[in-house]
Amino acid sequence: MFNKSNLIKIEDFLWEIPKNFRNDMRVPARIYTHDEMLDSIAVDKSLEQLVNVATLPGIKGYALAMPDIHEGYGFPVGGVAAFDSEEGIISPGGIGYDINCGVRLLRSEKTFSEVKPHLHNLGRTIYHEVPSGVGVGGRLDLKGREFDMVLEKGAERMLELGYGEVQDLEHIESGGVLHTAAPELVSVHAKSRGRDQLGTMGAGNHFVEVDIVEVIFDNGEAEKLNIFKDQVTVLIHTGSRGLGHQIATDYIRIMMKVMPNYGIVLPDRELACAPFKSREGQEYFKAMSAGANFAWANRQLITWEVRKAWKDVLGKEGGKLSMVYDVAHNIAKIEEYTLDGKKYNLVIHRKGATRSFPGQPVLIPGSMGTNSYILVGQEKAMISSFGSSCHGAGRRMSRTRARKEVSVEELRQRLESMGIVVNAGSSKGLTEESPEAYKDVNEVVGVIHEAGIAKKVARLKPIAVIKG
């Protein structure tokens, strides 16, 4: 178990576990947090897991944790790790089972007062248009080459099929497609598991949420994004569904078998990895890219479904729902960074972390019923955090405990008294995601802002929650 004496404060909001903490560490581990939050982070196994990441071959700089860090399996959730593309590894566990789980924000032309009379109907209609829940299929059932084209082209393929607008692609990380994707490296099993899941939300912490812009922190940046006070927005949080889960499962199994051939010894099997340049490393990277493309296609089709619901309820007067941005928070990307004066191509693993390039919108969803944030990436992220920021509030309570803490009736009443319309398929799922199960998103985002890796632009407040 960790305590504060194991950590050294190296600047405001940044702490370090030195390399000599454990003799298998290749680099130090760093955590963005503040003093009080550090106590709660040290409670579970997340820091031990971060130290394990610091032992992996080819890791550069430091293993990094964001203030929303919590215990995962292998890698902690809320972590960033950079590996040398020549000498380092790639690890499916460092990206997670939900490849390219991410967040997309749409902005309307309407204010809260204009939408309020239609809110119940809007929540209900979105719930009907966006399939949710476990094992619930979507409106498309693509097979063979048609399905592979989604894996190859991501959000762009959805536009070709008529589910979106050209401008949408300009506001997606990587334009909504990784060109490294190779559908032939995705197993038949993975394709079967995801085949009918395009345009579906799934269950767990995934949601569609209607919000209003409650506070603007930076008028200039808000204007650039066409964000204004009292504006109604829609936030979509989901990923690559069963397809991504199975890609990760398949390749962790493959890597487990081949690791001895590369002389890799690990403190935790879930860190299973292969050299990035190896056949297995390259094949996983290409399959993961296909999974990421599926996730962008999924959020694109959900966008179409939300736009349909919006139009059905508000008619022509409702105006357009336009893209603000779409970010991935479980992904690996090749990015260039300068370390000790030398340029490196690094395989950046983000597991529960958001890209935060200078000028790029950074979207941080809160837990159900709490605030979400729009930030903008800062130059300091390129120097200090491998161009990354946090991804959400971060869990602090188990699902079982969350279910014991609050009843579904109590939670519904509380959300409704806050003016939030709730449409949820599962009562159990609703209580598991109750706000008290998560850290305070305001504090988490506060650390990111104060540390200077992303700057607060606006705060959103939920008015309708739609869940599986």
Binding site: R269, E270, M397
Partner: protein, 135 residues
């Protein structure tokens, strides 16, 4: 001898104990089905699936087996209430699953992870492992 769900911040941690390796594997399947919370309407039509596997060791064999069962559950929307092993050794197995078509599934398990999993034959002859399910 059975399975028990324990605390985990974000996912599901389960301890499985049994007096034989076969029972450890089958209890783990029943524990996973409990998490998935399927609803079944029709118990007249019995479904059967066969799984054959090889792995680097017994722990990996269990995790890979559970992931195969998970895959069958979600692809075919089925629930399994009986596991019979034609063979089960340290590194390979042949199993037959029996069960029913599920009307609905209550929980989406993304995967069964290798994290904390360690199949042990204890001094008293019983078998035990921890399992972490990514939810």
């Amino acid at each position: 001898m059975t399975y028990k769900i324990l605390e985990h911040t974000a996912d599901v941690r389960m301890i499985v104990q049994a007096d034989s390796l076969e029972k450890l594997f089958s209890e783990a399947v029943y524990g996973m089905m409990k998490i998935i919370e399927p609803k079944v309407d029709n118990k007249k039509e019995v479904i059967e699936r066969k799984i054959s596997l090889e792995a680097v060791d017994t722990t990996a064999l269990l995790i890979d087996f559970l992931n195969e069962v998970l895959l069958a559950t979600y692809i075919h929307k089925e629930v399994y209430n009986e596991v019979i092993f034609k063979s089960l050794s340290e590194r390979s197995l042949e199993a037959k699953l029996s069960g029913f078509i599920a009307k609905s599934l209550g929980e989406d398990i993304k995967a069964v992870t290798y994290h904390e999993a360690d199949v042990k034959n204890k001094k008293d002859g019983t078998w035990e492992t921890m399992l972490i399910f990514d939810i």
